[in-house]
Symmetry: C2
Subunit: 239 residues, 2 copies
């Protein structure tokens, strides 16, 4: 069994984004990412500023139970890009055996077979403002495998900063019309320490996105969401 | 075909609450309610201050298409209590034939057969702070019928103002453990005109609810949400 590089374990808190928004959940955040998005809000997972612990499944589960004995039934595995780590498969199996649901988010650049055991897979390919390039063939492969073999639900979540990002989102939505589709207002202040200022800018951006999407004929069956954790706690880590 | 008393038709906007939070949708708001919740945020639907139009299905659909030609695929029927009106069944059938999804919210005090045709039914029985009393037998009947015959999804959404409300929510959650369960922070300022003040109080209440729920062993598989439309637009009607 391979160990997993874990950067932080925290909770219970709520999932602030995407298809399971509001869900009471624990977070296991892995380190490492194959991307370098210009606006990454978890650059500490890959910029060398924080060191991960190499952890076995049992150690991760023990830590979850120490933090929240009897107080969770859902675990979110986040990153960085958790799909870099094969060892997560064993963790997911172990949690499943205890009746605990799992969710994961990845940009979809690397595949792991354990994706098929996850209850809620959020695919978040990155729009032009990130300065990253999408590998569409790899994304096709993801969607196919999850559709044909996955037991859980999959959805897309695209972070939007501007009109170019929305054009990109439309290409994703049109390529995979049957996959539930979420648009998320981008956080332009990932280094801002003042919560009120983060909140105001986020809501302004969210209002712009709602306004643009509701006026559009291109996006009808979509959900438009802000980041609830950022509205509550600004850019604080570990909440 | 019975006409429906319609108070307002608006959109596209987003659904700000519950199981389809963030969804781009049109709203058809019916008038009339058999409840008088102390904190009702749509008292204008039943307090006589605004008069409904008695509308046929075709008139409602025409109005939707005038407002948003080609720009919607989802309609939310809200109130008041829409389940008072038999005529909504014909509207739901007509929308369905056009490939349009429908959602409804009701406290679950009155049943209509057209509930079985709705894609997303939100049941929002009212906690003690409302001063209303729940008819549990009627709620049992609702959950049974929707589970056995409904083609869509059903969920509970309980508005929470205080600890007594949370105890009530727990009774609902334990009585129907298999129904997806949402808790919503109550809006204490339904008459406040200052958006910033509404926003601040809502987020404070939401943070309290998140904090209480994450510390509790009673609520694990739950989602905790604010009202997004109130965060954006305060108490404005018709957005
Ligand atoms: S994929 Fe995610 S973790 Fe990686 S750089 Fe981009 S935003 Fe950051
Ligand atoms: S059931 Fe809903 S519409 Fe009726 S009084 Fe209560 S909050 Fe208002």
């Amino acid at each position: 069994m391979k160990k997993v590089p874990v950067l932080e374990i925290f909770g219970p808190t709520i999932q602030g984004e995407g298809m399971v928004i509001g869900q009471k959940t624990m977070f296991v955040r892995t380190s490492g990412c194959d991307y370098r998005c210009s606006w990454c809000d978890s650059a500490f997972t890959w910029d060398g500023s924080q060191k991960p612990d190499m952890m076995k499944t049992d150690e991760i589960v023990d830590r979850l139970n120490d933090l929240a004995p009897g107080r969770y039934s859902h675990v979110t595995i986040s990153g960085g890009n958790p799909a870099l780590h094969e060892g997560i498969g064993h963790l997911v199996q172990t949690l499943k055996q205890q009746g605990i649901k799992t969710a994961v988010e990845t940009q979809g650049s690397t595949w792991q077979e354990w994706m098929l055991d996850i209850d809620e897979v959020t695919l978040s390919p990155k729009p032009p403002s990130s300065n990253m390039k999408t590998n569409w063939q790899q994304l096709d492969f993801y969607v196919e495998r999850l559709k044909e073999e996955g037991k859980g639900q999959a959805s897309f979540k695209i972070v939007i900063f501007d009109i170019e990002d929305l054009k990109y989102a439309l290409a994703v939505h049109q390529r995979y019309p049957h996959v539930p589709f979420f648009l998320q207002a981008g956080n332009e202040d990932v280094k801002e320490a003042d919560d009120q200022s983060v909140r105001d800018r986020l809501l302004t951006k969210y209002e712009w996105l709602v306004d643009t999407v509701t006026k559009s004929e291109d996006f009808n069956n979509v959900k438009v969401l802000p980041q609830l954790h950022a509205l509550l706690w600004g850019n604080k880590q570990g909440v």
